[in-house]
């Protein structure tokens, strides 16, 4: 009974908590749903190619896919190392 009272009197009901959690989660899952399934594999292959020429870390590259009404944008971001690159 004390537990029930606690939920009754607390300002945020468990239902509103549930709704809040769902709204955040569902919004997040909807954006990733629209991403093409080849994205992770492409990111890995791009990294392999870049690392053939430039010494970058695993996390130096980020790929993001965005979609709005009339266009799709694929953004590729590569962080180059601080050290000057030796040309041979």
């Amino acid at each position: 009974m004390s537990l029930l009272d606690y939920f009754k009197t607390s300002k945020t009901s468990t239902a509103s908590l549930a709704k809040e959690r769902l709204q955040i989660l569902v919004a997040h899952e909807r954006t990733s749903r629209n991403q093409p399934s080849y994205l992770p594999q492409m990111q890995k292959e791009l990294l392999d190619v870049i690392r053939k020429y430039i010494n970058v870390g695993q996390d130096a590259i980020s790929v993001s896919f965005e979609q709005d009404e009339d266009q799709e944008t694929l953004e590729l971001n590569i962080v180059l190392p601080d050290l000057p690159i030796k040309h041979t």
Binding site: F7, K8, S13, T14, A15, S16, A18, K19, R21, L22, Q23, L25, V26, E29, R30, R33
Partner: protein, 269 residues
């Protein structure tokens, strides 16, 4: 023109088979020749809910493999001669259903039936995929509960990208919400997501709210679709749903506590 309805949810235990049995019976009782198909290969249960488990001779997979004709496998319902049941196979072979085989059977059924109700298994595996693939209409059965709402949303994504209509760029599947196991009293206490909360997230066309009801277990115990229990709240909710689906105006019920409360007081089931 025949219409294929998939009853789906993603999550298990929300009432897909109960709903499939009820709406198939409802449509058939309205005079529309209806077939209801169990897609849950390996975990057949629609036969039990429909009360025809002892009359199963051939199943869905037998027909796909050409071991039986469709007419041999279809079981005529004992309560309604417009209703036929196609039971699932109990095989453990996950690949027993093929897209081609299912497509062929549905095409054949469409010649003879007005409505074909596909009872989807839980999950997003092959059985669930094939149940929704050929659908014209989707009944999304959702409970007012976080995991069910999330899975319903995921299912909506699959319907809009992986179905035949989506793949062939046809008019999308019509999606309807059936909110089941609803307890207006608990909603009022803030213990349960309200219809409005669920609609804020899913925003679907509401076909009806089915209240949490003892009559559902009684119906499955006796192998009678709950819609045949005309005095029960759940039975009436499903009858309304069938009417609304067929284009009739029915005010929504079972959303507010008062009605349920008074019904309880005055001896309704």
């Amino acid at each position: 023109m025949a219409r294929i309805i998939v009853v789906t949810s993603g999550k298990g235990g929300v009432g897909k088979t109960t709903t499939s049995a009820a709406i198939a019976m409802g449509l058939a009782k309205k005079g529309h020749k209806t077939a209801v198909i169990d897609f849950d290969v390996g975990l057949r249960n629609l036969d039990l809910i429909m009360g025809c488990e002892r009359r199963v001779v051939y199943d869905f997979v037998n027909v796909i493999n050409g071991e039986a004709t469709l007419n041999q496998a279809l079981i005529r319902d004992k309560n309604c001669n417009q209703l036929y049941i196609l039971p699932a196979s109990q095989t453990r072979d996950k690949d027993a259903l093929s897209q081609e085989g299912v497509g062929k059977i549905l095409e054949e059924l469409k010649k003879d039936f007005k409505y074909i109700v596909c009872d989807s298994p839980a999950g997003i595996e092959k059985g669930a995929h094939l149940a929704m693939y050929f659908a014209d209409d989707a009944f999304i059965v959702t409970n007012p509960e976080v995991s069910s709402v999330r899975d319903s949303d995921r299912m909506l994504g699959i319907l809009s990208s992986k179905s035949r209509r989506a793949e062939q760029n046809e008019e999308p599947i019509k999606e309807y919400l059936l909110l089941s196991r609803y307890s207006p009293g608990r909603v009022k206490l803030g213990e349960m997501l309200s219809l409005e909360d669920v609609q804020d997230i899913l925003s679907l066309h509401l076909l009806g709210v089915i209240p949490e009801s003892k009559s559902v277990l009684n119906a499955s115990n006796s192998g009678m679709p709950v819609i045949l229990d005309e005095k029960s709240d759940a039975g009436q909710a499903y009858a309304d749903i069938v009417d609304r689906y067929l284009g009739e105006e029915r005010p929504h019920r079972f959303i507010d506590e008062d009605k349920g409360f008074f019904r309880k007081l005055f001896g309704g089931k």
